[in-house]
């Protein structure tokens, strides 16, 4: 992995402290250096980092960290809690106007993802809030920006208001508001052109649109990969149009996203949504705690769980549990499992979300071989249903056939069968253990199939 998480970074410092029994102020200082390092590597603005480290140091020294048995954990916890706090504690909802329509203005630099986010936001408002949005194409500068919004509108069956590129964006918005009233749209989303925060002429135009439409929300759309400059961008946009919230886009990348913290601390405005994919439903509410973990490189367990919940059929999971208990788990079920895991997305992506995955032996360079998974699938699919339920009947000639049918080798078939046997054994032990009241649910040996 390119970046180490804070926890791993602190390991080194902690090793030195471990033997000492007690942690003093100097140790905290050393740990804070690591915190600073981690935050800067995550693209948190330097000034913000400095302030943050100061606050956290005070808290760390003042609290019981020194007496704690696991001072490292304690420090990580304080850092994470403080980050979470700073990024907004509670989740923020969209503010709807009492008088229809609610006007939402999307602003930001070029390429931040305003148009895509406009489409996603319209979808979300229609689906979750039962609203009737109108999208307004006010980007008259970038070639084909209007076409882009119109295409999205068509895909989503959401009306798009456009008047070409020959009239001013202010005039477009004025006409769009009339249209909204006439057609009873209760939401108007204005997609403005991307602009540099230092372009005075275009920033004035934004101010004009703002004055005309007095929007209820002004969302600054920011690329999650933005570096130190995020503070300048946020500050300038905030001063010109008074943003009310932030949408952080492209968070499905592997950036730490420290810009989130920078923007929050210079504008004080909440991050309301995050863009997490190219699909039109990939806009999610912002979770400060998850973001904190991510910035610190601590893995995103919550997202992983949610991803599992979204993709794993609960009925099937229950069925499987039952099968585990009665030990009637077959290769068919295994195949099923495999396909469910696959649905959740590329495996190495999932692994990256797991905290400490980088530490697990053999997983450091987690390049899970998806091809290997496909081979396992092929082997099972080349078995007859009888073979799948009772693998013990698979003799040498059947093995040959399966290997041939799946395009693998007999060795591979053997390995799969052996591993499946072992897995069954372990499941048996585990269920016994559970019955004795020791709750330790773990999928044994599952990973050994993909090595």
């Amino acid at each position: 992995m390119a970046f180490e998480g804070l926890a791993e970074r602190l390991q080194g410092t902690l090793q030195k402290i471990r033997g000492k029994g007690k942690v003093n102020e100097a140790d905290v200082k050393e740990m804070m250096r690591e915190v600073r390092f981690a935050l800067i590597e995550a693209d948190v603005n330097l000034k913000v980092v400095r302030e943050f480290v100061k606050t956290v140091s005070e808290k760390a020294v003042g609290s019981d960290v020194m007496k704690s048995l696991t001072p490292g954990q304690q420090v990580v916890k304080i850092v994470k809690d403080e980050l979470t706090n700073l990024m907004g504690g509670e989740q923020e909802q969209i503010k709807f106007s009492r008088k229809s329509p609610t006007v939402i203005m999307m602003v930001g630099l070029q390429g931040a993802g305003k148009t895509t986010t406009s489409g996603k936001l319209a979808t979300l408002l229609r689906k979750r809030h039962n609203r009737k949005p109108l999208l307004v194409a006010a980007d008259v500068y970038r070639p084909a920006a209007i076409e882009q919004l119109e295409t999205l509108g068509k895909q989503l069956t959401i009306p798009v208001f456009s008047r070409g590129t020959d009239i001013s964006p202010v005039e477009i918005v004025r006409q769009a508001l009339e249209e909204a009233e006439k057609e009873h749209h209760d939401i108007v989303i204005v997609d403005t052109a991307g602009r540099l925060h230092v372009d005075e002429k275009l920033m004035q135009e934004l101010a004009d649109i703002h004055e005309l439409s007095s929007p209820d929300e002004v969302f600054l759309v920011v690329d999650a990969m933005t570096g130190q400059d995020a503070v300048n961008v946020a500050q300038n946009f905030n001063e010109t149009v008074g943003i009310t919230g932030v949408v952080l886009t492209k968070l499905d990348g592997d950036t730490r996203g420290g810009a989130a913290l920078s923007i929050r601390s210079v504008t004080g405005k909440p991050i309301k949504f995050v863009g997490v994919g190219e699909r039109m439903d990939a806009l999610e509410p912002f979770h400060p705690e998850r973001m904190a973990s991510r910035i610190l490189g601590m893995g995103d367990v919550m997202s992983l769980i949610e991803k599992a919940q979204d993709n794993v059929d609960e009925e099937k999971a229950k069925e499987l549990e039952e099968k585990f208990r009665t030990q009637s788990f077959t290769l068919d079920d295994f195949l099923d499992q495999l396909q469910q895991v696959k649905k959740m997305g590329p495996l190495d992506e999932l692994l990256k979300m797991m905290p400490g995955a980088g530490k697990i032996k053999g997983l450091e360079n987690a390049q899970v071989d998806e091809g290997q998974m496909g081979r396992v699938e092929a082997v099972i699919q080349s078995m007859t249903s009888k073979e799948r339920t009772a693998p013990e009947i698979i003799n040498a000639s059947r093995r040959r056939r399966i290997a041939k049918g799946s395009g693998t080798t007999i060795q591979e078939v053997n390995r799969l069968l052996k591993q499946f046997e072992e897995m069954k054994k372990m499941v048996k032990q585990m269920t016994n253990m559970q019955q004795r009241g020791k709750k330790r649910m773990k999928m044994p040996g599952f990973d050994s199939f993909f090595k």
Partner: protein, 332 residues
């Protein structure tokens, strides 16, 4: 001869208009960065530990990244000791020299494109979403046309809504043909078509647009590899250039981007876009240092001719222009 003098001589030999462009485009960047360096120099009389700490902060704020900054500071410290610099007056020259040195990293920086003398040259444009690939292609096409080359574009972003239309508009502006299929079609098929069209019409350069993709999307990176394969199967030695578009506002993730795209498509050069804002794009220092990928062009504005070949000396000149002017005045 002083560094500034040498630089002046280098620059006066080159196109005034280009230098001008660099200056204008980098005004914001320069104002911020230089004024900070000046502050720094003014505030500190002596080159001491504190001075270096401040300088370190300055570079970190330019997105250069921790590791590279540390290395740079260490090298500077050695340099300062060697030259026995005690006060901050001389330090500015050393800083600029060092920056250029890193950009060049031992070899003369070459931002020329690998364009074949005869036969077709293919340029593949790659990068994450929203960095300015399509816009760069438009500008690059105009640039090559001005050099007397015949150019054709391939609309390989079949995914994003409106992407094909966007390229077509740029094609019209530059006056070049755009090979396209409908939205949602296989980009590899578009490339296949385009390469054959380019061969038939005997154009000099084919520039291929691709859809933006985040570097951690394995499937999409595989798709890109396929696109590359199709091109190299059809034209020997192609793609002759694989240009990675990088947004100057991007932070440390740019290094991961460069690394991953490098692995997947064998990137030959970087186009640093949106350098006309306040972002400094300092991460290219780290990229050059770690991956040895040169920056070939920089995007300095929204106009057709706002794409300029990257020249490390001019870049540093842009950053320190105020200082240079002062020196020129003093020389007179």
């Amino acid at each position: 001869m002083s560094f500034f003098k040498r630089m002046k001589e280098k620059i006066t030999g080159t196109n005034e208009a280009v230098t001008e462009k660099f200056r204008d485009g980098l005004t914001k960047t320069r104002d911020q960065f230089t004024s900070k360096v000046n502050d720094l120099v003014a505030r500190f009389r002596e080159v001491d530990e504190e001075f270096f700490e401040e300088l370190e902060d300055l570079l970190l704020q330019a997105d250069v990244g921790f590791e590279t900054v540390m290395e740079l500071i260490d090298e500077l410290k050695i340099e300062v000791q060697r030259k026995n610099i005690k006060n901050t007056e001389g330090i500015q020259t050393v800083i600029s020299e060092k920056l250029v040195e890193i950009y060049e990293s031992g070899e003369e920086a070459n931002s020329d494109l690998n364009i074949q003398e005869d036969g077709l040259s293919v340029i593949l444009m790659v990068g994450v979403n929203g960095v300015g690939k399509t816009t760069t292609i438009g500008k690059l096409a105009a640039r090559l046309m001005a050099e007397g080359k015949t150019v054709m574009l391939a609309a390989g972003d079949t995914f994003r809504a409106g992407a094909i239309d966007q390229l077509v508009v740029w094609g019209e502006r530059a006056g070049v043909e755009v090979i396209r299929q409908s939205e949602g079609s296989d980009p590899a098929a578009v490339m296949y078509d385009a390469v054959h069209a380019a061969k038939n019409r005997k154009v000099d350069v084919l520039i291929c647009d691709t859809a933006g993709r985040l570097q951690n999307k394995v499937n999409l990176m595989n798709e890109l590899q396929k696109v590359r394969r199709v091109i190299s199967n059809e034209v020997e030695g192609a793609p002759h250039e694989v240009l990675l578009a990088l947004d100057a506002t991007t932070g440390q993730n740019a290094l991961v981007q460069a690394e991953t795209f490098q692995e997947a498509t064998n990137v030959t050069g970087i186009v640093l876009t949106k350098l006309d804002g306040t972002a400094k794009g300092g991460i290219v220092l780290a990229i050059r240092k770690k991956l040895n990928i040169p920056v070939k062009f920089v995007g300095l504005g929204e106009n057709m001719d706002d794409l300029q070949p990257f020249d490390p000396e001019k870049y540093v000149y842009g950053l320190f222009a105020n200082e240079l002017d002062k020196q020129f005045e003093a020389d007179k």
